[in-house]
Subunit: 249 residues, 2 copies
């Protein structure tokens, strides 16, 4: 399994991805699930991927060269010349469909579901930051002020803390911290999600990564966060009075 | 959806179940998912059910009359004469298989999965308390000292708090409290799980319910618990220092 999280805040964006990949329990390995597409000063885009690794890797590779033609006379639209992140998401959707056309039938015959899930976020100079969740059919939804985070992969364990703590006006590094707590909750409850964790922070209108870091096992801040969070949860439930219920029948 | 939780502690057992049932988003109703099978002073058993409601209701009904014959000369084994909870779980497994035999094919033709999931816990006088998770194939696993809680239905949102807070020696009412926190986390993140919540507490060797209560919307203790837990989580993540990471490349 995989857990990836993208948070679109007023101040910028935060991306987190675990790196555990498994084909059965006895074939577990580490792959980076975060990739950057960048044209310095002009556009900065990050993609997180979940699902079958061969499919994700094909999409990542082909996205760099995919082009769309809206009409016969139109110039080919690519992620490098698109003037909006919406158009970049359309190119990504087309890439997903192309990989499905190429590999989908053969995968299905082998009993493998075509199930990529992608988070694509970034900024093109002149436009606001935008973030999308692209589905296996190539369609997509966009994160909004009201729902400012997107998850792919093993998303349920880490959702309660996001639902309680993340808002559009959350500070960028508080967003990263809450994202790490969400990742920790997921790793504790699901062996298929594991360290190292890749994190990336990009501030609004900067078009470059302010943090691009890999958290390895034993890294002191993350270890401290995990211990503090555990202790705080224990203290939190201890501080709540015991239920007063006795039988009503 | 559904969320049901059974916790087997040294001091006794705790059962919780939500009551939301839906057939599509526009047909949402309230059904009790907890049932008691009791022979006062002799045996006290509780069953929680998830999955298709018609299947669960058939199982609940038929379990009362189902019997198993291990050999040709053996007397019929029922939940009322079984001398161990293991045998009661076998009778429940047989009941699940009978309902699958009766209804499984017709359900499949209608595109409905035969997917019951059941938690069965209790005590027969003279034996220890035991708790089982019975699957749709009629097979089952038992809760142990190491893994002392069982969940069915929408189990992921509420699992992190259990993994951190529940142990075999947890106090009975702390167990109930943590179960309620787990239920709250699930309800907040999934609309398919909702109030009222049925709760039941049974102390070891008592063979009767110490608490058998329905928490309705607006019930003061549960409302207070939800607010305190939210506030404690907010305080918990605020108390953790912000990440120190800056770009490493």
């Amino acid at each position: 399994m995989t857990y990836c999280l993208g948070i679109r805040l007023n101040a910028g964006m935060v991306f987190l991805s675990d790196s555990r990949t498994n084909a059965g329990m006895d074939q577990v390995s580490t792959f980076r699930k975060m990739i950057i597409y960048e044209k310095p000063g002009d556009r900065f885009m990050v993609m997180l991927s979940a699902g079958n690794l061969s499919v994700s890797q094909s999409i990542r590779e082909l996205l760099q060269v995919e082009s769309l033609k809206d009409g016969p006379g139109d110039p080919p639209l690519t992620i490098w010349n698109a003037v909006s992140m919406f158009d970049v998401a359309r190119v990504l959707g087309a890439t997903v469909r192309r990989v499905n056309n190429d590999d989908g039938d053969a995968l299905q015959k082998a009993g493998i579901e075509f199930n990529p899930a992608l988070i694509l976020g970034g900024q093109i100079r002149g436009e606001a930051m935008r973030m999308f969740h692209v589905y296996s059919a190539g369609n997509f939804i966009e994160a909004t002020r009201e729902t400012c985070y997107l998850q792919i992969g093993e998303s349920k364990y880490g959702k309660p803390v996001l639902d309680r703590a993340i808002g559009f006006d959350t500070d960028l590094y508080d967003g990263l911290k809450i994202g790490l707590i969400s990742m920790d909750s997921t790793m504790r409850s699901n062996l298929g999600v594991g360290l190292p964790i890749d994190i990336l922070v990009v501030r609004r209108d900067s078009c470059t990564a302010e943090v691009n870091y890999r958290i390895e096992p034993g890294e002191p801040y993350f270890q401290d966060l995990r211990e503090r969070w555990s202790a705080a949860l224990r203290a939190a439930h201890i501080s709540i009075p015991r239920p007063p219920y006795r039988s009503s029948n």
